[in-house]
Amino acid sequence: MIGLSAVYALAGLVFAAFAVFSAMDRANGKRFGNAVFWGLVATSFLAGDRLGDVGNGVLVLALTLIAGLGLLGRGQPATTSPEQRQALAERFGNRLFVPALTLPLVVILGVLVLKPLQVGGQPLLDPKQATLISLALAAVVSVAVALLLLRQPPVSPLQEGRRLMDTVGWAALLPQMLAALGAVFALAHVGDLIGQLVTQWIPLDTRLAAVAVYCLGMAGFTMVMGNAFAAFPVLTAGIGLPILINRFGGDPAVVCSIGMLSGFCGTLMTPLAANFNLVPPALLELEDRYAVIKAQVPTALPLLIVNVVLMYVLAFR
């Protein structure tokens, strides 16, 4: 059975290549900072399970120090100039879209065809991780298609990948770090504490007030915790289930579904949802780290009000 370990081995080798090429990149004044940073990420992927919990903690501290002390630069791998790209674009035409479309096609193929496949009574792919495994497979296949179809140098995927990875920089690790912070929050029962505060101090005696507190609470709580999954059990156990469903007789499907979506409105507004809100500005080379959040808030707030209205109308038919 192909599981996550295969994906991690591949990612580890790719990051190791980024580290080696970083060390060789004389155009980057901080090349050794980059080499150590991506090297540590490679170590985490290749040997994370053998480092032990404290070992992994030390690895995270080292990554944080490199980023926090500004030791990370931006590599300058040799790439094509804008003029060359214009010429290549004209030469290749729509063939350029083929590898870009190969990626989603292979992902679909993986999820629909490879996932149900059994080999010797065992599933071929770990069913719980089929999408990520398919994505990794699709990344490899589409790189191969690109190299063959567009006749690019064999080393270019690693060098160009490093160029983009350096563009994202330390922000690349923020989503994983925040997931780990979520685990520490859970260990310290931060969610339960906030849930108690909300239910203790805010009046929930009318149906509308309870709906509003639940929806706005899901959004606010998601903003603080960085993801709606952490907010959902706390607020649903505190307000949704005892008050909206049991006391006022709300339809549990409506309450839960729209409650979760209210949380998603919060996700649009928080820097803690880093992979959606902070990595893209880095990837798109935006000056304002919060530009994407600012573009989302005017959608998220009206949508949150719509959710309150929808839940009030639909849950108590």
Binding site: Y8, F97, M177, A179, V184, S257, N307
Partner: protein, 220 residues
Amino acid sequence: MLTLLGVAAVIVGFAVRLNPLLVVVLAAFTTGIFAGLSPIEVLAAFGKAFNENRYVSAAYLVLPMVGVLERAGLQERARALILRFQGVSAGPILVGYLGLRQITSALGLTSIAGQAQSVRPLVAPMAEAAAERDGPLDPGVRQSVRAYAAATDNVGLFFGEDIFIAIGSILLMVGFLAASGIVMDPIHLSLWAIPTAIAAFLIHGARLILFGRRLKGRAA
């Protein structure tokens, strides 16, 4: 109650724009220590969770493909393609992408598009090229076109994926309700995500159209 100082550390740290990795580590230690753990215990808990969440960072495996295609001129080709369709402006392009992202996510195909594999190489250059037709883009406007493109991907994903019955959030709700003694068929949870999905399309779509008009007005 002092445990909540960790949450405060996150809010303050992000507000004063400290390096976010530092903020996260400081918040973890503040939270853990006020909750009665020793520093080593916090370090171990944090390291363990970091290791268990490596799959989050494995998604960067798509970057080599994106980089090679950029090297070979994909962004330029995407721009040229848009310029050939005279009538298509930035607003409708983004609305079209919003609809496509919502529908494919609702079918469970959340990983076929994304910030790295679609927004940077295709959607943002296309929207920029369409906006450039109305006159040169100054750097600030170019950045806001890109920010809207990224926001559109997020809105499309969030308010599409919950319609698919086997997505993580639906499974979480089913599990939570089951633990509370309520047996729930996931299909009901997905169906009740549709009204919000429609509202999200209307609200964000209207904003994109207005944004497109502002881009045009800038040239006039």
